[in-house]
Amino acid sequence: MTAEPRTTEQRPLVLGLAEREVRRQGPLAWLVAFARQSPLNVLALILILLFLFLVAFGSALAPHDPVKPNIQVKLHPPSSTYWFGTDELGRDILSRVMSGAKYSLGIAFIILSIALVIGVLVGALAGYLGGLVDEVLMRVTDLFLAFPALILAMAIAATLGRNLQNVVVALTAVYWPWYARLVRGQVLAVKEREFVEAARAVGASPGRVMLRHILPNTMAPVIVQLTIDVGYAVLATAGLSFLGLGAQPPLPEWGTMIAGARTFFREAWWYISFPGLALTLTVVGFNLLGDGLRDYFDPRSRQ
């Protein structure tokens, strides 16, 4: 849980087929096909669309000011005015949960984007060039993998200061090696394939071969992994914030809210329940999507 990302099944995916399907059908038709495969996929899509919607419009649609205290109504139980109740400063928890999506989820996207860029760069170089470069890069990668993730993240966040930027730095340091490893494996598998050989044979430059022929064909497992990791990154961000190392008050980040609720949860069950529920549902959404995608891309499970 928390910062430890994978160790879910890591078997290499056989691709090509599914990918070509997406290209042929167009994304919308593909979505429909994907949703048809399993009701769980539908649930995943609904949850993710809901939370993505909140990332974009949560703050704007919040019924109350998520930040401004209104201490006269502190720790108010759920009611028709405050659907999810209020916190110790009288702020509407529904509004805070809604506008918190962009911190909890948004930060996860940023972390994974950066981790992906570094991971792809390192993994592609190592896999393509091989030899000493590969050895050095992969040993450094392994070193970071051996680091106790949460402790590394805690040390970085505590050292650099408590805010969301440093959580990004800390968790990027935790996540990039996984992508480096994954991409390297895929590059190794793809680089000897016929179409790559063919491209080389017609005299394409190494850079072109890499960008046009190898990398695109390594992306499907990376995408599956990314989907699952969004969930884990959300959990890790919230975990660090829960420890006080991430988002600072009055930001309505979900982990920070749960930490704040700890002092009051005996008297106000709603305060701790709703941010935790939002967190869980977000991660459920991405986990289900990841599972769905894996099954979808994996021909073995399509009998």
Binding site: M1, T2, A3, E4, T7, T8, E9, R139, V140, D142, L143, A146, F147, P148, A149, L150, I151, L152, M154, A155, I156, A158, T159, G231, L235, A238, G239, F242, L243, G255, I258, R262, F265, R266, W269, I272, S273, G276, L279, T280, L281, V283, V284, N287, L288, D291, R300, Q303
Partner: protein, 336 residues
Amino acid sequence: MVIYLIVRRFFFLVFVLLGLSLITFTLSHVVPSDPARMIAGPRASPEAVEKIRKDYGLDRPLYEQYIRYMSGVVRLDFGESLSSRRPVNQDLKRYLPATVELTLYAMLFAVVSGIPLGVLSAVKRNSLLDAVTRTVSVLGLSIPSFWLALMLQFLLFAQLGVLPDGQRLPIGVKEPPTITTLYTVDALLSGQFGLFLTALKHLAMPAFVLGFGSLAIVTRMVRSGMLEVLGQDYIRTARAKGLEQKTVVIRHALKNALLPAVTVIGLQIGLLLGGAVLVEIIFSWPGIGRYAFTAIQNFDYNAVISVTLIIGFAYVTVNLLVDIMYVLLDPRIRVV
């Protein structure tokens, strides 16, 4: 093969430990902070602070401090903790067993319930049981451990009062004599059955929370492994030969499906050791995760580096063991 693996891994281990110590050391020393001030306390005079800085060698150049520290580590001397004022060794001796015991029970829970769940859910694919199992495993991966821990504390301790809220034993209860350092085992070995139950009760909630994620992973691994194996020719053949379902499942399918599960279980142990921080904090569990967290907050360099090294060491070692087991279990696999 195994020898080669071990030698290679040994060099890697040395490399990892050096790397970890260097990174952590640098990290903790670029902090614009002054542990001497921390030791001296808020109301201390500048002279007192200066004196402490000298006493602890904190006024020496960084590389000198690093070399001094590492030459101690080689002799298994991790220096003195600045916040507990005791040798880190002593602290580790005290806190590591708590984490190990918690991790073992978490894994035990994950394995004992994860494997049967995975098998049943694969054999009865698409049944109600399968749906429930899959839901549980998705939840296991999705629920934030700290939130689950707090909710359970609220429910099982504050509301129902059926389980203690944390710690290894109630305050004031005497610990069992140290034999294995694991309270439950020591209590049994010394014949204190009541104490064993008490310790077990204290383990229940934290081990469940910590193990829940692993349970999900183990279940999924076993389920998908079983599905794959059950679909293969030799199983079909066995079935066609009229072998009983139970025999097929246990003798043929499970054995083959367990192999990937072994890897995952091994990896999980390595990860849990370092991942118990949040659970330990919430359940006041006196383990090294909590120790590391306190140390980080107090700029207690020696303690932070030591914990990082220990967990890194455990992680690499467990990985090695898993690889060896893999080679032994499945001669087809060649480890590069």
